[in-house]
């Protein structure tokens, strides 16, 4: 098992909050340098959300709603009333009046504070959808738009027909976007596997994909070892679960750009 595959399994446990001690610290350290693993962790947390959302059951009792709203109201701190002097002097009554004024002022501040918090929560919620889409777009587009992105075009080793693949790889972030078209249909239980071919050492798995009915396919940010230097990219046909090493001849290979 490669080091990267081991992280992949630990990431699933991390997403479940089930990784502790040294194992967790090791993954934490790796996450600081590996963008692909951070992205995979976010995906795995999204997967756990699906599991969570599958829980169905009765609605919470009505008292729970009131309990929360009461707690929220208590959270707004109303200053304690100052104890008035026991002496019933004229000055004492003035003290009471002043205290009442302070309490009224504090209550109005509390109402304003509550309204502002309510607005903040609602605004955060409303804006989330748009911002999330933008973030996702930026994340996907980053490797294509960066000037230092390495661009490799892959063509068929045997022509025709003319399948073509384009890999956009940003080594510093471990980001890879791969787009292919005119890919021939595959036999059952088979898939294409993309390989990152380093300057030295064995090919590194860079994602398994199947083309759609029109022969188009894509791979976005597969898990890759941090800082892997790509000499080129290549494609083979493998079992659909993917293979840790190529088992068939190279079908397509990078020609540089």
């Amino acid at each position: 098992m490669s080091e990267h595959e081991r992280y992949a399994e630990d990431l699933a446990l991390y997403a479940l909050d089930a990784l502790q001690g040294e194992d967790r610290a090791r993954v934490d350290e790796h996450l600081t340098t590996c963008a692909a693993c951070r992205l995979e962790l976010e995906r795995l947390r999204g997967d756990t959300a699906l599991l969570a959302l599958s829980a169905t059951g009765p609605r919470p009792p009505q008292r729970a709603r009131q309990r929360l709203l009461d707690a929220v109201a208590r959270e707004a701190r109303v200053p304690k009333m100052v104890k008035a002097s026991q002496r019933r002097s004229w000055w004492g009554w003035l003290g009471w009046a002043a205290t009442a004024a302070v309490v009224i002022f504090a209550l109005s501040l509390w109402q304003e504070n509550s309204a502002l918090r309510q607005n903040l929560v609602s605004a955060s919620f409303r804006a989330a959808q748009n911002r999330r889409e933008l973030e996702e777009l930026r994340r996907i587009a980053a490797p294509i738009l960066e000037p230092e992105t390495q661009r490799v075009t892959l063509v068929a080793a045997k022509a025709p027909p003319q399948p073509q693949g384009k890999a956009f790889y940003l080594r510093s972030r471990g980001s890879l976007v791969f787009l292919a078209n005119n890919m021939p249909p595959l036999p059952p239980q088979k898939a294409y596997e993309l390989w990152l071919i380093p300057a030295s050492g064995a090919p590194i798995p860079a994602g398994v994909f199947k083309p759609d009915a029109r022969g188009n396919a894509s791979v976005v940010n597969p898990p890759l070892p941090a800082g892997a230097e790509a000499k080129t990219f290549a494609i083979t046909v493998e079992n659909e679960a993917g293979s840790p090493a190529p088992t068939t001849p190279v079908l397509m290979v990078g020609v540089g750009e």
Partner: protein, 156 residues
């Protein structure tokens, strides 16, 4: 807050109740999760996926902490999700829940049970391995591939 509560409390309560199996303890987690959102509205933002999914994950983690009587391992601000469905509406959630149950039902029994023990009981992979007598690596693989099977079902 009342509006958000009305929209998401049934998701939060269902998750807490599924983990804890006790209505009183589930109400406590429900209260804690919404108070955290109230105190730190900025903890949820754009990068954290949909609010419904985020709340569901936070709730599950807090319920497991409560079940296992341990301190929270992950701060809510560190919980970042990729895009996942919001599923605030009951009808959408019911459909998604059926889909998840379908995928789980299609898994090998050993894989389904490993994933359920890890997710709903908060068992570590070593605890699951001890209980089932399977190798640690097998348990780890089952958990990961189970999660990815769910992802694929919602992508297609």
């Amino acid at each position: 807050m009342a509006e958000l509560y009305d929209r998401y409390s049934s998701v939060v309560y269902a998750v807490a109740l599924r983990v804890l199996g006790d209505t009183g303890a589930a109400e406590d987690v429900l209260q804690e999760v919404f108070l955290q959102l109230w105190r730190r509205p900025g903890a949820f933002d754009a990068a954290r996926g949909s609010l419904g999914s985020w709340l569901a994950v936070i709730t599950r983690n807090r319920a497991i902490d409560s079940l296992r009587k341990r301190r929270p391992e992950t701060d809510i601000e560190d919980v970042v999700l990729s895009v996942a469905p919001d599923l605030a509406a009951d009808a959408e959630r019911t459909r998604a829940a059926e889909k998840v149950r379908g995928v789980m039902g299609g898994m090998a029994p050993a894989q389904r049970s490993a994933l359920e023990m890890a997710y709903w009981e908060g068992m570590s992979h070593s605890e699951i391995a001890n209980k089932t007598g399977e190798p640690l690596g097998t348990v780890k693989t089952r958990i990961r591939t189970g999660l990815i099977a769910l992802r694929k079902a919602f992508q297609s």
